[in-house]
Amino acid sequence: MRRLPMPILAYFAIMAALPLFMGATGLFYDAFQAIFVFSLVGLGLNVVTGFTGLLNLGMAAFMAIGAYTFAILTSDIYPFQIGFWWGILATVAIGAVAGFLLGAPTLGLSGDYLAIVTMGFGEITLDVLKNLDAVTKGTQGINPLPRPTFGSWTLELQQERGWYWLLLGFVLLAVLAVRRLERSRSGRAWLSIREDALASQCMGIPPKRTKMIAFATGSALAALGGALFAALLSSTGEPASYDFQVSILALCIVIVGGMGSVAGTLVGAVVMVGMNSLVLVKLADWAGAAGVGNASNVLASPNNWKYLIFGLALILVVRLKPDGLLPPRLEGGAS
């Protein structure tokens, strides 16, 4: 395997070292654990949308499938209880299968028709999870979930630094896998389908199979993200935590970071999720400390400005950097 490029190496070096300068707990870990989970989902969506050019507005559904699969297979309220590592493996496999199942009938659709089918799939998944509350435990979520073990040692929930490094490790694995795939036969087929579907078909690339592999890869990564998020919280949370907003967040990560760029996706996740769970929370704290956080006037509560700031930031980023913060480099003539 070729060496990772500088920006990605720098990212992992900085990220791995960061906790050494932070306390052992706190907001920093909440934010960065979310960032890593969404990096996985973003890497998956980058395969689907960035490499292959298929707009998927239902990534949250695959996260949900991952989280609930993992929970059902490992939680002690169900008979399977296969443990953390086998649970993760099974989740990735089932995520890929779910991607295949959605992709098989729908990947013949073009562009925005596919987008709305994936959006509809997200809504259906959400509804099914809500309505089958006998299985999914409704708003309580399935809990508790097992913790990862390394030999005889178990990573406990409150060891936030450990979780941070564990998640970062999964991101590193995903980056290696995605970059490996990008350069494989399938990966080259993805890019060629994105650039010109007709021409690549003429060159003997089967469009549907190529798209299905991309879809399954993306879904597997999103499912992995969902499962790790559930494991991290030791609960699947309520079905509503996998709503359309989450799919939109994943899309913003990929586009703001730079479509088709692995390094861009990593940066996009830091920017978008970091803004959501670090900057805006901090702003609210400061405003609260300054005494403007009372609820009598809607304008006075910083939390009420969240969407406005998020929206403005999105518009500004695509306006100033239309190709994303870290667009893919040109390599051998192909983008």
Binding site: A115, L251, G311, I315, R319
Partner: protein, 319 residues
């Protein structure tokens, strides 16, 4: 024949709701037809239209609305919301989409998502206005009651089991002339011709001397105005509004536009009527909690068998 009455009732409810969705769906399909953008902010524009209507009503005074004065208030709200939403949509295009005309379609989409977030947030602020109609601005995020200016009396007589009310009349009296007017604009006027030309090929249209920027602006203006009309009749029909209602309305309308074949106006109306009917039938005969699943399930099925929507052209995708 009770089951016939019951069925007719669902038919009326479904079609009336479908016509409201249709007005919003046309706004999606027009914009998509001309710049290939899923205008995510459109549903939230619709939501702001409803807030403006309520504000106008508050300014007019919350008296005892009845008869002619109520209808006058309805007309004033329709004009105000249509004008407001039209201009706002035009402004959103100017600020958030126009600078990205040459960027990738997905950047445009993200800009639209950003605009949508901003409009939702403005709706939240708006609900905090210290007016009586907004409950004095306490609990900005709470849903607001929209006064029942249009009565819910049954026009088919008190003893009839089927309800056909002035609300249904209002929906049809507003939507049908608007759709006819729009068809006339698109098929018979110079502007309509320019819009069709721009939709077909913007570069060639510009070479033919069409000011495509103005045409796109006009499209946003008209599409937004239709959303404004829709917001007023929606509010009068359902009598409650909330700053989060744009999401559901936008989702339904966009689904309708795709179902009918995006870019096609008759398609948008057809798709919206289908969705309105499926919703009301599913609510009545199955369980409300499964309605979304059924709507999207049917959408997926239809798209599998007709990949360009019900009335979409089978033409190849633009490369």
């Amino acid at each position: 024949m009770e089951w016939v009455d019951f069925f007719l009732q669902q038919l009326i409810t479904g079609l009336s709701n479908g016509m409201i969705i249709a007005l919003i769906a046309i706004g999606y399909t027009m914009v998509y037809g001309i710049i290939e953008l899923i205008n995510f902010a459109h549903g939230d524009l619709f939501m702001l239209g409803a807030f403006l209507a309520l504000t106008v009503l508050g300014a007019l005074g919350l008296g005892d609305w009845s008869g002619a004065s109520a209808w006058a208030a309805v007309v004033i709200m329709l004009i105000a919301s249509a004008g407001f939403c039209g201009l706002l949509n035009w402004g959103v295009d100017r600020l958030a989409y126009k600078p990205l005309r040459n960027a990738s379609k997905l950047s445009l989409l993200v800009s639209a998502i950003g605009a949508s977030f901003i409009l939702v947030n403005l709706g939240l602020f708006w609900g905090g206005l210290p007016m009586d109609v907004f409950a004095g601005g306490v609990a900005a995020a709470a849903p607001k009651d929209f006064p029942a200016l249009v009565p819910n009396t049954n026009l088919l007589g008190e003893e009839s089991l089927v309800q056909f009310t002035p609300k249904d009349v209002l929906v049809w009296a507003v939507t049908v002339p608007l759709m006819m007017g729009l068809t006339w604009i698109v098929t018979r006027t110079r502007l309509g011709k320019a819009m069709r030309a721009t939709a077909q090929n913007p570069v060639a249209a510009r070479l033919m001397g069409i000011d495509t920027d103005r045409v796109i602006g006009a499209t946003f203006l008209i599409g937004g105005a239709l959303g404004g009309f829709a917001s007023v009749i929606y509010s009068l029909y359902n009598n409650t509004i909330s700053f989060q209602m744009g999401y559901r309305a936008g989702m339904d309308a966009f689904t309708a536009a795709v179902l009918g074949g995006i870019g096609s106006m008759p398609g948008a109306v057809t798709g919206a009527l289908v969705i309105g009917l499926v919703r009301s039938m599913s609510d009545a005969y199955l369980e409300t909690r499964w309605t979304n699943t059924i709507v999207f399930g049917i959408l997926v099925l239809i798209l599998i068998f007709r990949p360009s929507g019900l009335l979409g052209s089978r033409a190849k995708e633009k490369v």
